[in-house]
Symmetry: C2
Subunit: 458 residues, 2 copies
């Protein structure tokens, strides 16, 4: 019973879809954060659910850790095999299995990426709205309960996964949920697996909610003198109950970053809101007008409209590239991204205190935020060689997380726990964290599924 | 270790809030379905979380079943102590603890009823939209993942509980979720407890999402020649993505029932849609116009508008009283209510086949449905003395449930499992039902929390 004998058996089962070349292992040990490269012992590429079940059965029998892998865009080291083991790369399971247009849902395999799905849906008149920026896989997005720029209107993956097929730790295949829009038939296992980061099972099929393409879409930007007045405007927009589809804050450092990233943007380097409105022509007009008045009341500029599809795409591309734009602001830096989320009434306090923290530190930390949700990110730009900078960043991060908890919020709005947030889980959840562990033990008694993440098994 | 010694200890702890009078026990053995009266061994009335924890600790030590009780409006025998034990009546824990108007949430105790909450919120400009008809407690609604007429727009209790305080089977008190609008911090315990029917823990505090009162509300009714064309209109309205706030079907038998129930209504006794639109004046007008065109395309009548608040209240009261109106249609009958929910594209098939079943039976079964969700109820009116009628009703019910599963739906859209749906759980969930049992064993190893409901152990 060992990782080595799991490897022998997996190679026999999968042939060329079992890989142990150095390049392959290193590639699956990368991450978009500050964790060191952590290669697994092997990478496997299943092509269907039965193969996933076979892989899990072997690994379970051999007590070999199993880590599901999408495209590696997660920010908390979720998919790093830091206890060794086998990485299950889902890229060969990337099909749309069934488009149920009249029921507004689609059944996909977990390896499909957001942009692939968008492409597959293009002729249907429907769309999947959740957009975390990165071109992540839908399996990865579901596993981390991802959200992004549109969650303020459409919710998160929690709200948009109707049903799952999951391979359990012992290799059994189950289905959760149904295609009905609601159900009261027992425990909500779909919600339990969404956000469980591959620690309770491996998703092999997802049924996702779709939405009709809005008749009208309009995007606007506006700038403010300072972050505080920008946040005040956001708070009022949300408290009005205005159904804005995106509502993003970028501070002046971040605006400088995206101007450098895409020189054609050439925007004022002041704190900005990027907004989008979805609906009928009439309602988009109505909502934009109300938002414009609120912005103006808080000293914001006139709206600058991106009405043509290509202008809008460029704008959101810039926003979505914020992580890479921030990273490019400092040559050879690495980025530590924070992810606090607080009640909207405490957002100004959370951001203002964080800005003061950054100003008092030696670091640069551009801010972007899904502020309509109370969620904001600081991209702390670090010299990977400097222990002082890393220590300073960790202090800022800790302050942000403790502040979020003090204000009634959470340490992670959308990035998940992975390795990076483990140290804050006891404080956020108290004994509820132990309940999570009890569930983990019940569903994965041998602790083979992504061990060491989300829960702590003493 | 026994129920008897639990009773001695609970009386010592609670004094006059421990009750064993016959009347009290029988009252807590009632239900609004066809289950026989099943009195518990004792009823207790805690006044705070600590007391609930104390009660649970004693019962757990004494291996005494614990059943939480709201107001007893559930339809599947959820709160019946059919293995004996102590019923925990939550009526003394019925306060609003905290109204966070600027964050659109409210913290309540579980014993508050829907109408009490409505009353408490009246001056705030905010409302809690979920409306299952009955004046249930919010704890009971959360425990069954209730929904009702407005779920088509606002979702179910799954979507509207932000956070919980829960007493676990061993007496520990935990908090799940936070006041942030979203989180990725580990397993979604809030979603796990919502819909768990008191089998995993006892909710002692709920943080609920609130919504701004819409600027405009308009209700309309229209009639159709037959149920089939009515359902076709519904399907098209939903497939248009029209954000209607309520969309209810009542067949001609049900219309006859509510006319008898409230003679001032005096409506045509043909299949009807009852609809409601929420939004700005302009959007309500726009949506009503589109809905009117669809209805007309399917041979429906002109809309009859209920614009005055009192007319609207009377209309929805009639709809909400449908269960009692149906029951009144046949003197001394009892009512077996079905609760299938299917994908909207299969709704016509599900309802048409069900109508044929009822027509071929000796029974009357008025239909009401939250058809915008694909959810519909048949109220089968039975002579409680007639074994033939009970058998016929159970056959119809079984057909409806198996049909729902065949069509990709669920056996219960909103009523929950309780005792009544246990026999269908294996078929709906397969091995996923065993996963539910594994979770139950992990969280309640002695099986003291509402034993025999939702999951089957061994």
């Amino acid at each position: 019973m060992s990782i080595e004998s799991a490897k022998v058996r997996l190679e026999k089962m999968l042939g060329s879809r079992f890989r142990v070349t150095r390049g392959e292992l290193v590639q699956h040990g990368q991450n978009e954060s500050i964790f060191p490269v952590t290669p697994p012992d092997a990478v496997v590429y299943p092509t269907n659910t039965k193969e996933v079940a076979g892989i899990v059965t072997i690994c379970s029998e051999e007590a070999c850790p199993i880590i599901a892998w999408g495209v590696g865009t997660s920010l908390e080291g979720h998919a790093l095999a830091f206890q060794g083991g086998v990485t299950v790369d889902m890229s060969m399971m990337n099909k749309v299995l069934e488009l149920n247009a009249e029921d507004f849902n689609v059944v996909v395999q977990p390896g499909i990426t957001r942009k692939q799905l968008e492409h597959e849906l293009r002729a249907s008149g429907l769309f999947f709205p959740i957009d975390p920026g990165a071109d992540a896989t839908l399996g990865g997005m579901a596993a981390t309960r991802a959200s992004g720029t549109t969650a303020v209107r459409y919710g998160t993956l929690r709200d948009n996964v109707l049903a799952l097929e999951v391979v359990l730790a012992d290799g059994r295949i189950i289905r959760t949920g149904s295609r009905a829009r609601k159900s009261s038939a027992g425990y909500d296992l779909t919600a339990l697996f969404v956000g469980s980061e591959g620690t309770l099972g491996i998703m092999t099929e997802l049924t996702l909610k779709l939405y009709g393409q809005p008749e009208a879409v309009a995007a606007a930007t506006c700038s403010f003198e300072n972050v505080a007045s920008c946040v005040d405007a956001v708070t009022e927009i949300i408290q009005m109950g205005l159904p804005v589809a995106r509502l993003e804050l970028l501070d002046s450092a971040m605006m400088r970053g995206i101007n450098q990233w895409d020189r054609s943007l050439n925007m004022t380097e002041q704190p900005h809101l990027f907004m989008e409105f979805h609906g009928s022509e009439a309602s988009v007009h109505e909502h934009a007008e109300i938002a414009g008045e609120i912005v103006s009341d808080h000293g914001g500029s006139e709206f600058s409209w991106a009405t043509r599809t290509e202008d809008r795409s460029r704008l959101w591309k810039a926003r979505h590239d914020a992580y890479y734009a921030a990273k490019a602001m400092r040559p050879n830096c690495m980025v530590l991204t924070t992810d606090a989320c607080v009640p909207i009434s405490r957002l100004a306090e959370a951001i203002n205190e964080t800005v003061a923290d950054i100003e008092a530190s030696p670091l640069e930390g551009p801010i972007v935020g899904h502020v309509g949700d109370g969620n904001f990110h600081i991209a702390l730009l670090l010299d990977p060689e400097s222990e002082d900078e890393i220590a300073a960043a960790k202090t800022i991060q800790a302050n942000i997380n403790h502040r979020a908890l003090r204000l009634g919020g959470t340490i992670t709005g959308e990035h998940g726990v992975g390795i990076g947030k483990m140290r804050y889980m006891a404080k956020e959840h108290g004994d509820a964290w132990k309940v999570m562990s009890a569930i983990k033990r019940a569903l994965d008694p041998k602790n083979v599924l992504n061990p060491g993440k989300v829960v702590q098994l003493n």
